[in-house]
Amino acid sequence: MQPLGAIVHDENPYADQAQREHALRLGMWVFLGSETLLFAGLFGLYAGYRARYPEQFALAGMHNEEWIGSVNTFVLIVSSFFAAWAIHLVRGDRPRAAMWSLGAVILLGLTFLGLKSVEYSHHLAEGIAPASYYRYAELPERGARMFFTLYYFMTGLHALHVIAGLTVMVWLITRLRRGKATAEHHVELEMGGLYWHLVDIVWIFLWPLLYLST
């Protein structure tokens, strides 16, 4: 969205900047709620299939490489911190430091995607692919095939969100670079941060469901 600045544009329905920022923040929250429900469908499917194949899901979960999932969890948590820290820095009128902080977010996000692709390639090498492409005979066929189909859908949708979030981060850095975010007005930065945190929260739930299994 184009910055509207302090001067009220002809099309601008807001009385002032504060009202605009309030609207944008609330709009972002509503959007995040909607996004979350997109994942809810997959969580619902997971719940349904896990209720149907409990042992098979546990076995299949053990087959996932726990260290990759766990390291990725740390990576995303720290990246989330840096996203929040960037806003803190901007509020303290330190936009350059904030840019570095967002840079760290991007770096960590890329690390996450890198580890994820390592894991995907391991799986694919073993013949673990979704549904009709599944060729792995070491695990009980029925439940495990469904587990990995779900695994691909859940982590795949999440990875798409990571990529979207990283794009937003790049955009935010360019805004900072151009001096478009000030200590008082940085609502776009907050919105981008909120989106990134949502990506983090989704992973916080994916991790125990897909990796932690005994």
């Binding site: 042992e55 076995l59 005979a137 070491e138 066929e141």
Partner: protein, 377 residues
């Protein structure tokens, strides 16, 4: 009164034991609905007429009349009470519909585009027409080979979706001999409306005669190859790979041995105990993970849609014939519970061909090749 209402509401005859009870509730609910709708319409119409502007000029009323909160509460509470009463009665009936009586006769139903196939516990089978005796509860164990269908017999007031990949059931007890239409109620493709069949309800003697005729016809058709159903079952079990995991002499193997299994009480993985009967065996073939024998890993693939109804019945009959075999060793589990399993299984996809095929090789067939036949019109 019942007949009057039934005719007025265009309901089919009440040919099953539950039909009349469901209809009574139907009468009450529909009468309430009509009264409610007409009542509201009349009240609205009356107010529209009574308070028309030409009669009541604007602003003639000086204050707003208020409905006391207690009255609102009574109306709302009363209505909710009535609705919940509908629910209560309806749900009790529903539970009854979902609970087949003990000793019901089992019939296996396989639906596919666009026909119904029935297999009876004695090994006979029929397409399109379901033969049942009058006055005896019949439980239908149903599955589909392709898409979702729905078994619907209007005069019985019985309907149940038939889902691929699992077993669903329904039951009925016919009250009067006759012929009743079966319709598919879940859209299943262009010829959905032609997927019809008939339930032929026979008097007990006629039913026995029909069974006899079926048996003789089957004998003639088989041309003496397998002399009886159990032998056919043995052949099917070998060809379908059952015997690669199940032994017939009691030797421990991946799956429970069939020796002396029939009518034995067994303990399930979840601690329950069940009696191995026709229903349990059939269910275990169709939905193996539903009730897993304690001590065995839940690894058996489903044979739903892979075995024809007749083959299923034949295997059951074969296991039945092994009831008297004394196991060579006391049955024990080759695997500790929860132990990781590392084995190669016959794939679910492989034996998709409907006819008796050679033992499937454990390869995974991509789905395109495994498309169930009969998809096109």
């Amino acid at each position: 009164m019942n007949e009057l209402y039934r005719t007025l509401l265009n309901l089919p005859p009440q040919a099953s034991t539950v039909a009349r009870h469901i209809d009574y509730l139907h009468y009450v609910v529909i009468t309430t609905s009509v009264l409610g709708a007409v009542g509201v319409a009349v009240a609205t119409g009356w107010f529209l007429y009574r308070y028309r502007a030409s009669r009541v000029p604007e602003g003639a009323r000086s204050h707003i009349e208020h409905v006391p909160f207690s009255l609102e509460l009574v109306v709302v509470g009363g209505l909710l009470g009535m609705f919940l009463l509908f629910w209560l009665v309806g749900y009790r009936q529903f539970v009854h519909l979902r609970t087949p009586p003990q000793g019901a006769m089992d019939v296996y139903v396989v639906a596919k585009q666009w026909m119904w196939a029935f297999a009876y516990p004695d090994g006979s089978a029929s397409n399109r027409d379901l033969y049942v005796p009058v006055g005896r509860p019949v439980r239908l164990l149903m599955t589909s080979r392709d898409v979702i269908h729905s078994f619907w017999v209007p005069p019985f007031r019985v309907k149940q979706d038939v889902v691929p990949g699992r077993m669903t059931f329904t039951w009925f007890e016919a009250r009067t001999p006759g012929t009743y239409d079966i319709m598919c109620a879940e859209y299943c493709g262009p010829h959905h409306s032609r997927m019809r069949g008939r339930v032929i309800v026979l008097a007990p003697d006629d039913y026995a005669a029909w069974q006899e005729g079926q048996w003789q016809a089957a004998q003639a058709e088989a041309g003496g190859a397998p002399a009886n159903l159990a032998q056919l079952g043995e052949r099917v079990a070998a060809e379908r790979g059952c015997l690669r995991c199940h032994t017939v002499d009691g030797t421990p193997h991946l799956g429970p041995s069939w020796a002396g299994l029939y009518h034995a009480p067994i303990q399930l993985a979840d601690g329950r105990t069940v009696l191995v009967d026709d229903a349990y065996l059939t269910e275990s073939m169709m939905d193996p993970l539903a009730k897993v024998h304690r001590g065995y890993a839940p690894v058996m693939p489903s044979y739903l849609g892979l075995l024809s109804a007749a083959e299923t019945a034949a295997i059951v009959e074969y296991i039945h014939s092994l009831a008297g075999v004394v196991p060579v060793r006391a049955r024990q589990s080759p695997l500790a519970p929860g132990q990781n399993v590392n084995l190669t299984l016959p794939s679910v996809d492989a034996p998709r061909a409907p006819s008796l095929t050679p033992t499937p090789t454990p390869t995974q067939t991509p789905r395109q090749e495994a498309e169930p036949e009969g998809k096109g019109p």
